[in-house]
Symmetry: C2
Subunit: 377 residues, 2 copies
């Protein structure tokens, strides 16, 4: 995988880079909007292009169950199925089946679970997850892993991490074999990322990094964070883990986070982020601004003629008032979700763009200090 | 009001024309998408411009209750509030309060009703309806009327129509007085349409036309049709009423209808139509094609790689398959409503464009015959 580091900040670990994949280039640090069911909720691809979304995340678990990866494969992959021609990263389904709780059973072989849609029985294993992701034809596949709960004992997490590392090796083998056997793939240039686990135990995180590096991946993700632990603990883990990762490969912090998390994550050398927060919050009427979140249904916005943010260049802010957005939200109009999502995603993507620019201009530390001062979580 | 007839069909009563209003020109015959609560459900103005929507219908009843016409007036009117700069026609609220059934009480003065939102008590009268529509600043206002139920006795409808005609006169007076008193209006160039009532009684319809003409309006609507009567009866009424209307004013058939209704209505000289059908059907997964309606959730579309209509030029058909649209609908994704609405509105607006072209080229009769043969309702 071509990953080029374009600039490094002098005072933090932040770096700006460029990932090159079959479906195009991605400038890092980047935020990936989540397209769970083959769509970023409420967004046409046209709108996503307009706000300059560079790469989307697709959920293997959901697409495997509905409409099924074979169907998507028969359409030439997820890009063609959903009409999106820029890069896509797919998760492995591991986190979703883990989240099913009582509906799933984990063994060395893989995870047996019941569909949240119809209760039908399925098994996801490292090999199956790779097969599904190959059918989807994403640009980046993720290793199938187990996400340890929080809190969990050192013993539990040791066992869980060991299993995830064995699974990571099986994913790598499955990925290599498909290439060796010259199986007709939707996207022959797929990349595979390993996922660091180890819960809140620095020794296990370090061991996990070592084992993944020994296997060798195109990129390295940090998983198992933002699973209920206090925020300072998350950053403690991140501070200890991120520097262990190879310098010349992209680093992806999974499922994170708030705007502050993105700024602080970038400062620790993270290149990629994803989170449902901007899209889900938008549908709940919670809008991001440089000062913090705004709850659009509040009475104070009833006759407020200003846009969400006066200096925001998104379609929503260029055309609509807070009062109109409040009216749409209270009236349960679909357009509320659309306009709010445009703004929140624009906010996230614009934030990443400002982070990249600050790194390139070697003033990221200053940018971070100001952002932390102005943004109230 | 400037209404220019550009072409007349030789074998039917169809005519093609141009309406000129403050916010722009509208080519007729035209279909007006319905924007009940200050938005065409699921559509940004940008998308509506892209499918060439020329004029929208806004609902006075809904906007009066929420967010309130004073609020919209303080924003400079509905156009600015919702970010739509082409013409808007507002209904009078009459039909909506009539539809409230037990929640409303009609007297000569007006209609007292309880809000469907919070049960609060309100009164709409001819004067109040005009005041609200002036606050909204629409390009075309409609007279406040009573829509007689179907079936109803000759006696009932006589009384109801008489009252509606008195109300029409009061609307005209309210409209004139605002102009005379030079009250600061949001849109000083508002036009006012009268509405023909008279149920299914040709003598009452004729009397209603006479009385409206005596008052004098910028345009004439036919109301009280498509209220549950058999389709042939609706067209019987239309055939008898439409030719009585003044030739040189626009004619608007309210709340109608199916694609076949539009073609047949145009053949009887109707210039304007509105209906929730394309937008509501879209959200229910019912899509219009030149052969009739398609229910997108059907299993036959599971792996159908074709667009809804192979020769349709809408964004949805140019980019997405039936299988993808089926997946979105079954997954209850917002994007299903968006893409389906784009297609259905494009279908309706494109149909009107083809009707106008056929009239201009003096082959509308032939167009109608072919459409009636190919389109199965």
């Amino acid at each position: 995988m071509s990953f080029e580091i374009l600039a490094k900040d002098a005072r933090t670990l932040a770096r700006a880079g460029k990932l090159t994949m079959t479906h195009g280039e991605v400038l890092t640090p980047i935020f990936m909007p989540v397209g769970t069911q083959g769509t970023v909720k409420g967004m046409t691809p046209e709108v996503l292009y307009a706000i300059d979304a560079q790469i989307l995340l697709g959920n293997t678990y959901h697409l495997y169950l509905r409409p099924g990866h074979e169907l998507i494969q028969s359409f030439g992959g997820l890009h063609r199925f959903m009409g999106w021609d820029r890069p896509i990263l797919t998760d492995s389904g591991g986190f979703q089946v883990y989240s099913l709780g009582d509906l799933r059973k984990i063994s060395e072989e893989g995870v047996t679970f019941r569909s949240h849609l119809d209760g039908s029985l399925h098994t996801l294993s490292p090999e199956k997850s790779i097969e599904v992701q190959q059918g989807l034809g994403s640009d980046v596949m993720m290793c199938f892993d187990e996400c340890a709960p929080y809190p969990a004992s050192h013993e539990y997490v040791t066992h869980s991490m060991d299993m995830s590392m064995l699974w990571a090796e099986r994913c790598k083998i499955a990925h290599e074999q498909a290439k060796e056997r010259k199986i007709a793939l939707i996207n022959p240039a797929q990349h595979l990322f390993g996922i660091v686990q180890g819960g809140m135990y620095p020794d296990l995180r370090a061991r996990s990094v070592e084992r993944l590096q020994a296997i060798g991946f195109d990129g390295y993700a940090i998983g198992g964070l933002s699973v209920g632990e206090p925020k300072p603990l998350m950053f403690e883990m991140l501070e200890q883990t991120a520097p262990l990762l190879p310098e010349n490969a992209p680093r992806y912090l999974m499922g994170v986070g708030t705007p502050l998390d993105l700024v602080r994550g970038a400062a620790l050398g993270i290149d990629m982020f994803d989170c449902v927060m901007p899209t889900r919050n938008a549908r709940n009427g919670s809008l991001f601004t440089k000062q913090g979140k705004m709850t659009i249904k509040q009475a104070q916005y009833r006759d407020d003629q200003r846009p969400i943010e006066p200096d925001c260049q998104c379609y929503t802010c260029r055309n609509f008032s807070r009062a109109y957005l409040r009216h749409l939200f209270i009236s349960k109009e679909i357009l509320a979700s659309i306009l709010n999502t445009i703004h929140n995603l624009y906010f996230y993507l614009d934030l990443m763009s400002r982070i990249r620019k600050a790194i390139a201009e070697n003033r990221f530390d200053e940018f971070k200090v100001r952002f932390e001062r102005e943004y109230v979580e």
